[in-house]
């Protein structure tokens, strides 16, 4: 079947198209070149005057796995409050799998990635992701506090052995990338340490966070994994943590590094309140170093729930829980999880400044290929707030009007009012489509060139950018229409994106012994079989290229 999308204004940054009018052709779920006047399309959509982009991709959204389910359990009252949607989809900060798929698709997204999949919880995360309809998914494997890796490092193992370990773990858990969360810190918390400096040895394994960070960044490069090490940095939420953020950038010494939810890591200690924006310093460092990318983790105001593997940080925040209940877990000698409900208040100075810091980062970091639109769902805000966030980036007047409603001391503590930049549609397309696909190694996603998967979103060009991005006219997944005027019209199943880096299998006998002795689990049962991923039909493998990535 041949489908023609005729006459839309195409924003396809990966292929150099920035709003020029043109046609797209789709056959068998993929975009094809113009087949010429002799071929008659089976279906034509007249998109005259409409805006056409690839399906959007969220690189960092906590959509599945143990901590997400704990958040749902903890926030059951939210579901009662939010159960008035048009179709029974419930939950804002903690949507069900069904609601997650529907809400993303209704906003024009066709893929979202779970950025904190613990090794021991990977099977659960995959089972859950398989129940998210309409969008593609995948998981980033959390390493860096796992006792086996720390033990390996402490034994003086070389880069090759570390890369073999990481390579095995990525294959076994069917992951797309490597994530490090407060490397060393979660492990130290299990020994009752409530903080750990970057150059301080951990309490048991005698390894510094800096060593863990550089070892993992190096392993990612050695294995040729497309996505750089995805780092949840040190001292999350702590005033003055910008120093650790800049230090992390320096520590990897030119290796590629992705700093996630960098808003929570861009805090200074200036002023009366000893809490200030350090966005300009972070932005300057990012602008100068092409090896660094970031996503923002923008906060938006209202009730949400924070869910993180970083027990060290979450335990420190537990006193701020709203409502006053929270969960911490130490998990399987590989990580932990902390779930703390939180309400960001626009009249609170700290929350208002956090909001401004996120926007400063968006506006000061120049290259839209290296900064990504996230709220760290649900930590900064539910992902459903993206349309409002896009409006804040594209519409300075709206930004200033919103700022005027916040805490009165805010203007003296932020340069936001002086920033005149407004994102263009092309830059939004870069940040939400082309760049995420490129940084994850999804070569046939995020663009609209021939052979790309036909994940396509069509918008009416409205001056109110929130209204525009909240409700696309048409969304296609794999060439099939799934959303029409905001209504889900077909419920398809997505796929699971993974990498399978090569590694020396001799590491497996070392690991098998340790699994038997320590984890009380056979290594063979830890490994997730291909047929377990979406019934055996779900995997999409992406190439690893040692020496390239």
């Amino acid at each position: 079947m041949l489908t023609k999308l005729a006459g839309g204004r195409i924003y396809d940054p990966a292929n150099g198209r920035d709003g020029a009018v043109g046609d797209l052709f789709v056959r068998d779920g993929r975009i094809v070149a113009d087949p010429g006047p002799s071929s008659a399309p089976d279906e034509v959509h007249d998109l005259t005057g409409r805006v056409v982009m690839a399906g959007a991709i969220d690189i960092h959204s906590h959509i599945a796995g143990g901590k997400v389910n704990i958040a749902r359990l903890l926030m059951a009252e939210e579901h009662r409050a939010a159960a008035e949607g048009p179709c029974g989809c419930v939950g804002l900060a903690t949507p069900s799998t069904h609601a997650t798929g529907c809400r993303y698709a209704q906003m024009g997204y066709t893929a979202a990635f779970e950025p904190a999949m613990l090794p021991s919880n990977a099977r659960h995360a995959h089972l859950e992701m398989a129940d998210i309809p309409l969008i593609d998914t995948g998981g980033y494997l959390v390493l860096g506090n796992d006792d086996l890796l720390l033990e390996l490092l402490a034994s003086g193992a070389g880069e090759e052995a570390v890369a073999d370990y990481v390579g095995f773990m990525l294959n076994a858990t069917r992951s797309l990338a490597v994530k490090a969360v407060n490397p060393g810190g979660i492990n130290a918390f299990k020994y009752n340490q409530r903080r750990l400096d970057v150059d301080e040895n951990g309490p048991f394994h005698a390894i510094t966070p800096r060593r863990i960070l550089t070892a993992l960044a190096g392993a990612v490069q050695r294995l040729g994994i497309p996505h750089p090490l995805h780092l949840h940095g040190f001292n999350l939420g702590v005033p003055g943590n910008v120093e650790a953020t800049l230090d992390s950038i320096a520590a990897v010494d030119g290796l590629r590094l992705h700093l996630t939810h960098v808003q929570f890591h861009a805090y200074g200690m200036e002023g009366d309140r000893k809490f200030s924006s350090a966005a300009a310093r972070v932005a300057e460092a990012v602008n100068r170093r092409p090896n660094i990318s970031v996503d923002v983790g923008q906060i938006m105001f209202g009730q949400t729930v924070t869910a993180s593997a970083d027990t060290m940080a979450q335990m420190n925040n537990a006193g701020l829980a709203h409502p006053k209940k929270w969960v911490m877990m130490d998990i399987e000698c590989d990580a932990g999880c902390g779930v703390v409900p939180f309400r960001y208040r626009d009249k609170a100075f700290v929350n208002a400044l956090q909001w401004a810091i996120g926007l400063e980062l968006f506006l000061l970091i120049e290259d839209p290929w290296r900064i990504f639109l996230t709220t760290d769902h649900p930590n900064g805000a539910p992902f459903t707030s993206y349309p409002e966030l896009i409006r804040l980036l594209m519409d300075r007047d709206h930004r200033l009007a919103r700022m005027a409603e916040l805490h009165p001391a805010l203007p003296e503590h932020t340069i936001l009012g002086s920033l005149t930049r407004e994102y263009s549609l092309g830059e939004i397309a870069t940040m939400t489509r082309a760049a995420p696909a490129r940084i994850l190694g999804l070569t046939d996603r995020g663009h609209l060139g021939p052979r790309a998967v036909a994940d396509i979103t069509v918008y009416t060009d409205r001056p109110d950018r929130r209204a525009m991005f909240e409700k696309p006219d048409l969304v296609f997944k794999d060439g099939r229409l799934i959303v029409c005027d905001g209504v889900v019209v077909a419920v398809l199943q997505g796929r699971t994106h993974v990498v399978e880096p090569a590694y020396d299998p001799k590491i497996e006998s070392w690991m098998a012994r340790r699994f038997d002795e320590r984890m009380g689990q056979r290594l063979t049962h830890f490994r997730i079989a291909e047929e377990e991923i979406r019934g055996g039909t779900g995997l999409i493998r992406h190439a690893c290229q040692p020496g390239v990535f």
């Binding site: 389910n69 179709c87 989809c89 021991s120 911490m328 998990i331 209504v487 320590r518 009380g520």
Partner: protein
């Protein structure tokens, strides 16, 4: 000549190694199970009574029945769909099934607008009630095994329900503590003989207080921990013993407080759990301490996980009216069974099913050989996860899911296949967003 060659002998018994046990929630995955063809199984590698009993239950397949009459599977599926299409107040419960079975059962329940619950969620809910009210600090089995230096067991010995708990997760030397050390204290409960044997090389303290007052003992411990001068006796345990244990807890490097809430006998047992959770939280003001709520028979933990991600809310939820309505009191299956007119009872792990009221229409999916007090409207024999078909099940600690493989072929369908077939046979509706 080839025809004169002897037939190669069939290896008897067939030996299955590294078998995952899906029954009690401990997730033991080291079993050796011998199969005497065609379908008799015997566990050889452990004396665990749960594993030995459950793996040995493999009667031959039998045909489905409609109103007591044997029929082909397709006919039973049609009959089930027919009675379910007429249901006014359906209950989809039991839910003793693997992840795929849970998905299919919950999808069917959604189509029917049914109330959903697991047969064994009572113990689970004593824990979840507290998690939903206050949250908690918890840990997992490998953390217990490798990091815990003081294990405080609250209430009756959990080994009665989870027999290999001490052998696999407490007896081994902690790998990630220096120097490795461990001791175990039993509070308001006494270790079983098998537990004493498993812990023979580990110091054990027993404070055999009143098992109905575990919460009081936990509160007294918390008070003594906060302020030694406030020490008092509780639950029949002397103040001096409480003081010693509180001091030991204060000095522990990584304490774990474990309990099996299903074994708590006191009314409002969730309040007992709340006290234990409070004790753990208070202990973290001084040291590291984490709770280990044990539950998980028949994959109740996994089914609750699936329900939570599917609907945003856990079990004990009504799907009537299009929006999931979670109410752990109203929608506990035993309570709702009083008003349900139709029951779908799924029990893939065990042949015991409850007795339902006369006049209720029952569709039962259970192993062959299941004995019913009253013949259900439809009975469809199904395979057991991890015996007849591969299956994913969750461990008690909620984090680890394991995949058990199929061992034998009795010609039984798996629950998920049957449930999906019933849903397909229902009158079709437009897909909802």
């Amino acid at each position: 000549m080839a025809s004169e060659r002897p037939t190669p002998p069939v290896a008897r018994p067939v030996v299955h190694r590294d078998v995952v046990c899906p029954f009690c929630g401990l997730g033991c995955d080291d079993l050796t199970v011998e199969e005497e063809p065609p379908s008799t199984l015997a566990v050889r590698s452990t004396d665990c009574p749960v594993a030995r009993d459950r793996f040995s239950r493999t009667p031959s397949a039998e045909p489905p029945r409609v109103a007591g009459v044997a029929v082909p599977l397709a006919e039973a599926v049609e009959a089930a769909a027919a009675v379910l299409a007429a249901a006014q107040a359906p209950l989809v419960a039991g839910l003793g099934t693997d992840v795929d079975g849970a998905r299919a059962a919950l999808s069917l329940a959604e189509r029917l607008g049914a109330v959903v619950d697991h047969a064994l969620s009572d113990g689970l809910y004593r824990n979840l009630a507290v998690l939903q009210r206050t949250g908690w600090i918890a840990t997992t089995l490998a953390e217990l095994r490798n990091r815990c230096d003081l294990l405080l067991v609250a209430g009756p010995d959990p080994a009665a329900l989870h027999p290999r708990l001490f052998e696999r997760w407490v007896a081994p030397t902690p790998a990630f503590q220096t120097p490795p050390s461990r001791e175990v204290a039993f509070l308001c409960g006494e270790p079983l003989d098998a537990t004493r044997t498993a812990l023979s090389r580990i110091p054990v303290t027993v404070l055999p207080g009143d098992p109905a007052k575990i919460g009081d003992a936990a509160a007294a411990l918390a008070a003594a921990l906060a302020e030694p001068s406030r020490v008092s006796g509780a639950a029949g345990i002397a103040a001096g013993d409480i003081a010693v244990l509180a001091e030991r807890l204060r000095k522990a490097r990584y304490a774990v407080v474990a309990w099996a809430a299903a074994a708590f006998a006191s009314p409002h047992a969730d309040l007992t759990v709340e006290r234990l959770v409070g004790l753990v939280r208070d202990a973290n003001r001084h040291t590291r301490c984490a709770g280990l709520p044990l539950a998980g028979y028949d994959n109740v933990v996994g089914v609750n996980q699936v329900c939570t991600w599917r609907f945003g809310v856990p079990l004990r939820t009504s799907l009537a009216g299009g929006v999931p309505l979670h109410d752990p009191h109203r929608f506990a299956w035993m309570r709702y069974a009083d008003v349900a007119d139709t029951v779908v009872w799924v029990s893939a792990f065990r042949p015991e099913v409850p007795t339902f009221s006369a006049g209720q229409t029952v569709v039962a999916l259970a192993p062959p050989g299941t004995v019913f007090t009253d013949e259900p409207a439809v009975f469809i024999p199904i395979g057991t996860p991890g015996i007849d078909h591969p299956a994913q099940v969750f461990r008690s600690d909620t984090v680890v899911a394991l995949r058990a493989r199929g061992l034998i072929d009795r010609g039984l369908p798996d629950g998920a296949t049957v449930l999906k077939a019933i849903a397909t046979a229902l009158p079709q509706e437009a897909p909802a967003c």
